[in-house]
Symmetry: C2
Subunit: 151 residues, 2 copies
Protein backbone atom coordinates (compact mmCIF):
# COMPACT_ATOMS: atom_id res chain seq x y z
CA UNK A 1 0.00 0.00 0.00
CA UNK A 2 1.33 3.43 -0.90
CA UNK A 3 1.83 6.06 1.77
CA UNK A 4 -0.96 8.10 0.20
CA UNK A 5 -3.41 5.16 0.39
CA UNK A 6 -2.56 4.49 4.03
CA UNK A 7 -3.24 8.12 4.95
CA UNK A 8 -6.47 8.29 2.94
CA UNK A 9 -7.80 5.09 4.51
CA UNK A 10 -6.94 6.30 7.98
CA UNK A 11 -8.74 9.63 7.42
CA UNK A 12 -11.78 7.90 5.96
CA UNK A 13 -12.03 5.48 8.86
CA UNK A 14 -11.30 7.63 11.89
CA UNK A 15 -14.19 9.05 13.93
CA UNK A 16 -12.19 11.19 16.33
CA UNK A 17 -12.54 14.89 15.47
CA UNK A 18 -9.48 15.87 17.54
CA UNK A 19 -7.34 13.43 15.54
CA UNK A 20 -8.51 15.00 12.27
CA UNK A 21 -7.75 18.49 13.60
CA UNK A 22 -4.34 17.31 14.68
CA UNK A 23 -3.61 15.70 11.30
CA UNK A 24 -4.76 18.81 9.39
CA UNK A 25 -2.62 21.05 11.57
CA UNK A 26 0.49 18.98 10.91
CA UNK A 27 -0.17 18.77 7.17
CA UNK A 28 -0.66 22.56 7.01
CA UNK A 29 2.48 23.17 9.02
CA UNK A 30 4.52 20.89 6.76
CA UNK A 31 3.25 22.60 3.62
CA UNK A 32 3.96 26.07 5.00
CA UNK A 33 7.47 24.96 5.93
CA UNK A 34 8.05 23.83 2.35
CA UNK A 35 6.47 26.76 0.56
CA UNK A 36 8.01 29.41 2.80
CA UNK A 37 11.43 27.75 2.64
CA UNK A 38 12.59 30.30 0.03
CA UNK A 39 12.13 32.98 2.69
CA UNK A 40 13.87 30.85 5.30
CA UNK A 41 10.62 30.91 7.29
CA UNK A 42 8.31 28.34 8.80
CA UNK A 43 4.77 28.29 10.11
CA UNK A 44 5.48 30.15 13.36
CA UNK A 45 7.20 33.00 11.55
CA UNK A 46 4.33 33.15 9.10
CA UNK A 47 1.77 33.61 11.88
CA UNK A 48 3.73 36.46 13.48
CA UNK A 49 4.16 38.20 10.12
CA UNK A 50 0.42 37.92 9.42
CA UNK A 51 -0.38 39.41 12.83
CA UNK A 52 1.97 42.35 12.19
CA UNK A 53 0.56 42.90 8.70
CA UNK A 54 -2.79 43.46 10.42
CA UNK A 55 -1.42 45.63 13.20
CA UNK A 56 2.09 46.79 14.03
CA UNK A 57 3.42 47.86 17.40
CA UNK A 58 2.05 44.87 19.29
CA UNK A 59 3.85 43.55 22.34
CA UNK A 60 5.76 40.33 21.82
CA UNK A 61 4.28 38.79 24.97
CA UNK A 62 0.74 39.77 23.94
CA UNK A 63 1.12 38.04 20.58
CA UNK A 64 2.10 34.88 22.42
CA UNK A 65 -0.74 35.09 24.92
CA UNK A 66 -3.51 36.12 22.56
CA UNK A 67 -3.00 33.20 20.17
CA UNK A 68 -2.17 30.50 22.67
CA UNK A 69 1.46 30.36 21.57
CA UNK A 70 4.34 29.37 23.70
CA UNK A 71 6.34 32.47 24.71
CA UNK A 72 9.68 30.83 24.02
CA UNK A 73 8.53 29.79 20.55
CA UNK A 74 7.47 33.36 19.77
CA UNK A 75 10.74 34.78 21.12
CA UNK A 76 12.75 32.38 18.93
CA UNK A 77 10.63 33.15 15.86
CA UNK A 78 11.04 36.89 16.39
CA UNK A 79 14.84 36.51 16.51
CA UNK A 80 14.74 34.68 13.17
CA UNK A 81 12.45 37.36 11.69
CA UNK A 82 14.94 39.99 12.85
CA UNK A 83 17.82 38.06 11.29
CA UNK A 84 15.88 37.91 8.03
CA UNK A 85 15.35 41.68 8.31
CA UNK A 86 11.56 41.37 8.28
CA UNK A 87 10.77 42.57 11.78
CA UNK A 88 12.34 44.89 14.35
CA UNK A 89 11.71 45.55 18.02
CA UNK A 90 11.43 48.85 19.88
CA UNK A 91 11.51 49.22 23.63
CA UNK A 92 8.33 50.93 24.82
CA UNK A 93 9.32 54.44 26.08
CA UNK A 94 6.59 54.22 28.76
CA UNK A 95 7.63 50.81 30.06
CA UNK A 96 11.18 49.69 29.41
CA UNK A 97 10.28 46.04 30.08
CA UNK A 98 7.98 46.02 27.05
CA UNK A 99 9.22 45.33 23.51
CA UNK A 100 6.96 46.24 20.61
CA UNK A 101 7.20 44.63 17.17
CA UNK A 102 7.20 46.40 13.79
CA UNK A 103 7.71 45.34 10.19
CA UNK A 104 10.87 46.51 8.42
CA UNK A 105 10.66 47.91 4.89
CA UNK A 106 11.51 44.43 3.60
CA UNK A 107 8.84 42.97 5.87
CA UNK A 108 6.21 45.30 4.45
CA UNK A 109 7.36 44.54 0.91
CA UNK A 110 7.47 40.71 1.06
CA UNK A 111 4.69 40.39 3.68
CA UNK A 112 1.82 40.47 1.17
CA UNK A 113 3.54 37.87 -1.04
CA UNK A 114 3.99 35.61 1.98
CA UNK A 115 0.34 36.16 2.88
CA UNK A 116 -0.64 35.17 -0.67
CA UNK A 117 1.27 31.88 -0.31
CA UNK A 118 -0.56 31.24 2.96
CA UNK A 119 -3.96 32.04 1.47
CA UNK A 120 -3.36 29.69 -1.43
CA UNK A 121 -2.57 26.82 0.93
CA UNK A 122 -5.62 27.64 3.03
CA UNK A 123 -7.86 27.87 -0.06
CA UNK A 124 -6.77 24.41 -1.15
CA UNK A 125 -7.72 22.91 2.21
CA UNK A 126 -11.23 24.40 2.05
CA UNK A 127 -11.63 24.18 -1.72
CA UNK A 128 -14.71 21.96 -1.92
CA UNK A 129 -16.81 23.84 0.62
CA UNK A 130 -19.80 25.79 -0.64
CA UNK A 131 -20.39 29.25 0.77
CA UNK A 132 -23.04 27.91 3.16
CA UNK A 133 -20.82 25.04 4.25
CA UNK A 134 -17.90 27.43 4.82
CA UNK A 135 -20.08 29.56 7.05
CA UNK A 136 -21.16 26.57 9.15
CA UNK A 137 -17.58 25.29 9.28
CA UNK A 138 -16.24 28.65 10.49
CA UNK A 139 -18.83 28.86 13.25
CA UNK A 140 -18.15 25.28 14.35
CA UNK A 141 -14.41 25.89 14.42
CA UNK A 142 -15.01 29.06 16.42
CA UNK A 143 -17.06 27.16 19.00
CA UNK A 144 -14.38 24.48 19.22
CA UNK A 145 -11.64 27.09 19.67
CA UNK A 146 -13.67 28.83 22.41
CA UNK A 147 -14.12 25.51 24.20
CA UNK A 148 -10.41 24.80 23.78
CA UNK A 149 -9.57 28.18 25.31
CA UNK A 150 -11.38 27.04 28.47
CA UNK A 151 -9.50 23.78 28.84
Amino acid sequence: MSEKTVVTQWIQGINVPAALISYTYRALQKKFQTDLGQYNLGWGHFIILMILLEQEGLRQDEIALSRGFDKTMIAKSVIRLEEEDLVYRITDPNDRRVRRLYLTETGRRVGPEIRRIGSEISDRVFKDFTQDESKVLLEYLRRIALNASEL
Copy 2:
Protein backbone atom coordinates in the same frame (compact mmCIF):
# COMPACT_ATOMS: atom_id res chain seq x y z
CA MET B 1 -7.57 43.30 29.44
CA SER B 2 -7.03 39.84 30.89
CA GLU B 3 -5.30 37.12 28.89
CA LYS B 4 -8.58 35.23 28.72
CA THR B 5 -10.45 38.23 27.29
CA VAL B 6 -7.75 38.83 24.66
CA VAL B 7 -7.99 35.21 23.49
CA THR B 8 -11.80 35.20 23.47
CA GLN B 9 -11.98 38.43 21.48
CA TRP B 10 -9.46 37.14 18.97
CA ILE B 11 -11.39 33.88 18.47
CA GLN B 12 -14.69 35.74 18.11
CA GLY B 13 -13.26 38.15 15.54
CA ILE B 14 -11.12 35.92 13.34
CA ASN B 15 -12.55 34.59 10.06
CA VAL B 16 -9.65 32.35 9.06
CA PRO B 17 -10.56 28.68 9.58
CA ALA B 18 -6.91 27.56 9.43
CA ALA B 19 -6.06 29.94 12.29
CA LEU B 20 -8.84 28.45 14.43
CA ILE B 21 -7.63 24.92 13.67
CA SER B 22 -4.12 25.95 14.56
CA TYR B 23 -5.26 27.57 17.83
CA THR B 24 -7.34 24.53 18.81
CA TYR B 25 -4.46 22.19 18.08
CA ARG B 26 -2.09 24.16 20.31
CA ALA B 27 -4.63 24.42 23.13
CA LEU B 28 -5.26 20.66 22.96
CA GLN B 29 -1.56 19.91 22.91
CA LYS B 30 -0.96 22.14 25.94
CA LYS B 31 -3.78 20.49 27.90
CA PHE B 32 -2.57 16.98 27.06
CA GLN B 33 0.93 17.94 28.15
CA THR B 34 -0.45 19.08 31.52
CA ASP B 35 -2.86 16.22 32.15
CA LEU B 36 -0.45 13.49 31.04
CA GLY B 37 2.41 15.01 33.03
CA GLN B 38 1.89 12.44 35.81
CA TYR B 39 2.82 9.73 33.28
CA ASN B 40 5.76 11.79 32.04
CA LEU B 41 4.08 11.83 28.62
CA GLY B 42 3.05 14.50 26.15
CA TRP B 43 0.76 14.68 23.16
CA GLY B 44 3.02 12.76 20.76
CA HIS B 45 3.39 9.86 23.17
CA PHE B 46 -0.34 9.85 23.69
CA ILE B 47 -1.03 9.46 19.98
CA ILE B 48 1.37 6.53 19.63
CA LEU B 49 -0.14 4.80 22.67
CA MET B 50 -3.64 5.24 21.25
CA ILE B 51 -2.55 3.75 17.92
CA LEU B 52 -1.02 0.73 19.68
CA LEU B 53 -4.09 0.25 21.86
CA GLU B 54 -6.02 -0.20 18.61
CA GLN B 55 -3.44 -2.42 16.96
CA GLU B 56 -0.07 -3.73 18.11
CA GLY B 57 2.82 -4.86 15.94
CA LEU B 58 2.77 -1.83 13.67
CA ARG B 59 5.97 -0.60 12.08
CA GLN B 60 7.41 2.54 13.59
CA ASP B 61 7.91 4.13 10.16
CA GLU B 62 4.34 3.30 9.13
CA ILE B 63 2.92 5.01 12.19
CA ALA B 64 4.83 8.13 11.23
CA LEU B 65 3.76 8.03 7.57
CA SER B 66 0.13 7.11 8.08
CA ARG B 67 -0.62 10.01 10.44
CA GLY B 68 1.50 12.66 8.78
CA PHE B 69 3.98 12.68 11.66
CA ASP B 70 7.60 13.55 11.44
CA LYS B 71 9.72 10.35 11.61
CA THR B 72 12.24 11.87 14.01
CA MET B 73 9.44 12.97 16.33
CA ILE B 74 7.99 9.45 16.38
CA ALA B 75 11.42 7.90 16.95
CA LYS B 76 12.05 10.22 19.92
CA SER B 77 8.59 9.55 21.36
CA VAL B 78 9.08 5.79 21.08
CA ILE B 79 12.35 6.03 23.00
CA ARG B 80 10.55 7.86 25.82
CA LEU B 81 7.74 5.29 25.79
CA GLU B 82 10.37 2.56 26.09
CA GLU B 83 12.02 4.39 28.98
CA GLU B 84 8.65 4.63 30.70
CA ASP B 85 8.23 0.88 30.12
CA LEU B 86 5.00 1.33 28.13
CA VAL B 87 6.19 0.14 24.73
CA TYR B 88 8.81 -2.24 23.37
CA ARG B 89 10.22 -2.88 19.92
CA ILE B 90 10.88 -6.15 18.12
CA THR B 91 12.96 -6.54 14.98
CA ASP B 92 10.85 -8.15 12.26
CA PRO B 93 12.26 -11.68 11.64
CA ASN B 94 11.42 -11.36 7.92
CA ASP B 95 13.10 -8.00 7.45
CA ARG B 96 15.76 -7.00 9.94
CA ARG B 97 15.46 -3.31 8.96
CA VAL B 98 11.90 -3.23 10.28
CA ARG B 99 11.07 -2.56 13.92
CA ARG B 100 7.57 -3.39 15.17
CA LEU B 101 5.99 -1.79 18.23
CA TYR B 102 4.13 -3.54 21.05
CA LEU B 103 2.66 -2.49 24.38
CA THR B 104 4.33 -3.78 27.54
CA GLU B 105 2.23 -5.11 30.38
CA THR B 106 2.36 -1.67 31.98
CA GLY B 107 1.37 -0.11 28.66
CA ARG B 108 -1.69 -2.34 28.43
CA ARG B 109 -2.57 -1.61 32.04
CA VAL B 110 -2.28 2.22 32.03
CA GLY B 111 -3.19 2.65 28.35
CA PRO B 112 -6.98 2.69 28.94
CA GLU B 113 -6.61 5.23 31.77
CA ILE B 114 -4.52 7.47 29.50
CA ARG B 115 -7.15 7.05 26.79
CA ARG B 116 -9.83 8.11 29.28
CA ILE B 117 -7.90 11.33 30.03
CA GLY B 118 -7.67 12.02 26.29
CA SER B 119 -11.37 11.36 25.73
CA GLU B 120 -12.32 13.71 28.54
CA ILE B 121 -10.29 16.54 27.03
CA SER B 122 -11.77 15.81 23.61
CA ASP B 123 -15.32 15.70 25.04
CA ARG B 124 -14.85 19.14 26.59
CA VAL B 125 -13.81 20.63 23.25
CA PHE B 126 -16.91 19.29 21.51
CA LYS B 127 -19.25 19.56 24.51
CA ASP B 128 -21.88 21.91 23.07
CA PHE B 129 -22.39 20.07 19.78
CA THR B 130 -25.68 18.26 19.26
CA GLN B 131 -25.57 14.80 17.71
CA ASP B 132 -26.48 16.22 14.29
CA GLU B 133 -23.90 18.98 14.56
CA SER B 134 -21.24 16.48 15.62
CA LYS B 135 -21.99 14.41 12.55
CA VAL B 136 -21.66 17.41 10.22
CA LEU B 137 -18.52 18.55 12.03
CA LEU B 138 -16.87 15.14 11.69
CA GLU B 139 -17.61 14.99 7.97
CA TYR B 140 -16.30 18.53 7.43
CA LEU B 141 -13.12 17.78 9.35
CA ARG B 142 -12.69 14.60 7.31
CA ARG B 143 -12.98 16.55 4.04
CA ILE B 144 -10.49 19.12 5.31
CA ALA B 145 -8.03 16.40 6.36
CA LEU B 146 -8.36 14.71 2.95
CA ASN B 147 -7.67 18.03 1.21
CA ALA B 148 -4.73 18.61 3.55
CA SER B 149 -3.33 15.17 2.65
CA GLU B 150 -3.15 16.34 -0.97
CA LEU B 151 -1.23 19.53 -0.25
